[in-house]
Amino acid sequence: MPTEQIGSKREEQFAFYMDLLGHDLLNNNQAVMSYLELLLASPSIDSAARRYAEKAISHVKTSTLLTENTKRLMATRNAEPEAFRPVDICEAVQRAASSVQRFFPGKNIKFSLTPDDIKANVLGNSFAVDLIMNVLVSAIRLDRGETSELVATLAEVTYKEKKCWRLRIEDTNSELPPFLRRDEIEAVYDQDISLAVKTTGLLFAKMIAVNLGGNFEIERLGGRQGKEGAAFIVTLRKVEKV
C-alpha cells in the first residue's frame, strides 16, 4: 500500500477512535453530573457540601466542553465551510451567554450584545455555537475579577473577499498571556507547552473559525499595567440566503 494511503488510513482510524473516546467521556461526565445533582436534591445536604457539589458540577461542564472540542475539531478538519448549515450568530451568542454562568458558579457575569435583534446567519451549524462558548469561557477565565463584564458588538465586514459577520467581545479586565498577539495566536505553538496553559479555548476558537472559512483574533486594549484588557474577535462567513 502506498505511504500516502497508509497515512490516510491511520488518520481515519485515529479520528474514529477519538470520536468513540469522546463519546465515552461524555457518558461518564453525564453520570458524574447527574449524581452530583441527585446529591444536591437531597434535603439533608448541608451548605458546605452543597457548595462543593455545585463547584464540581461546573468542572464537569468544563470537562464536557473540552471533550466536545476534540470531537468538533475532528469533524471539521477536512470539511469545506459550505458543508456547514447556517446558524444565526446573534441567537448563538445569546444562547452561549445565558449558559456560560454555569461554568463559573461564584462569579458575577454581565454580558451585552449590540445589536441584539438582527438575523445574522453564518456558516457553522452547532460548531459556531461551540466556538462562541469557548471564546466566552476563555475570556472569563482570563479575567480574575469577581465580576466579568463582556461587551459584544456585531458588524458586517469583508474578510478574504467574502462577506462576513464579525463579533467583537471586549473585556477590559482580561489578562492575556504575554506571547499572544493579534492574529498570531499560533505563536502559542512555539512556546514551551507548560506556558501554553489557559489557551486551549483560544486555540480551539482559532482552529474552528479557520475551518469554517473565517478567523479568530485577539487584540490588547492597552489599559492598566497587568490588566490591559482584551478584545476577542470572531469572523464567520455570512450566509445571504437560508
Partner: protein, 120 residues
C-alpha cells in the same frame, strides 16, 4: 404514573436514569441495552410504555433505526432521544422522536422533557 422504557447500552447510564426517574415519581417498566433488544421487549409488551428514552450509539442496532421501527409498530409512541451526538438530532426527529436531549443533560432538563411529552 408515567411508565418508561429505557434503552441505552451503558449499564451505569441505565441505572442513572432509573435513579432519577424513580426519585421523580416515574415508573421504569423495562430496560434494553441495544436497539434490537428494545424492539423485542417493546413488541412483546402488552402495556406499551408512555415514554421510550432512546440512546443512539448502541451495538447491533442504533437508536435511530430502533426509533423508526418502534414508530412503525406504534405511530403514537412518544420517544425522547438522548445522545452525545448532537449532529444526529435531525435524523432522530425524522425517525419519529418527539424530543431530543443532548448528553450530558441537566436532571431538570430530562424531567422537563418528560413532562412536556406526557402532557402532549
Amino acid at each position: 404514573m408515567t411508565s418508561v422504557l429505557i434503552v441505552d447500552d451503558e449499564m451505569f447510564i441505565v441505572e442513572l436514569y432509573r435513579d432519577i426517574l424513580q426519585l421523580r415519581g416515574y415508573k421504569v417498566v423495562g430496560t434494553a441495552f441495544d436497539g434490537e433488544e428494545a424492539l423485542r421487549k417493546y413488541g412483546s409488551s402488552s402495556d406499551k410504555p408512555d415514554v421510550v428514552i432512546m440512546d443512539h450509539r448502541m451495538p447491533i442496532m442504533n437508536g435511530v433505526e430502533a426509533t423508526k421501527q418502534i414508530i412503525r409498530m406504534n405511530p403514537l409512541q412518544k420517544v425522547i432521544f438522548v445522545s452525545a451526538d448532537v449532529l444526529v438530532e435531525k435524523e432522530a426527529r425524522e425517525a419519529g422522536a418527539v424530543e431530543f436531549l443532548p448528553k450530558p443533560f441537566r436532571m431538570d432538563d430530562l424531567i422537563e422533557k418528560m413532562e412536556k411529552v406526557h402532557v402532549s
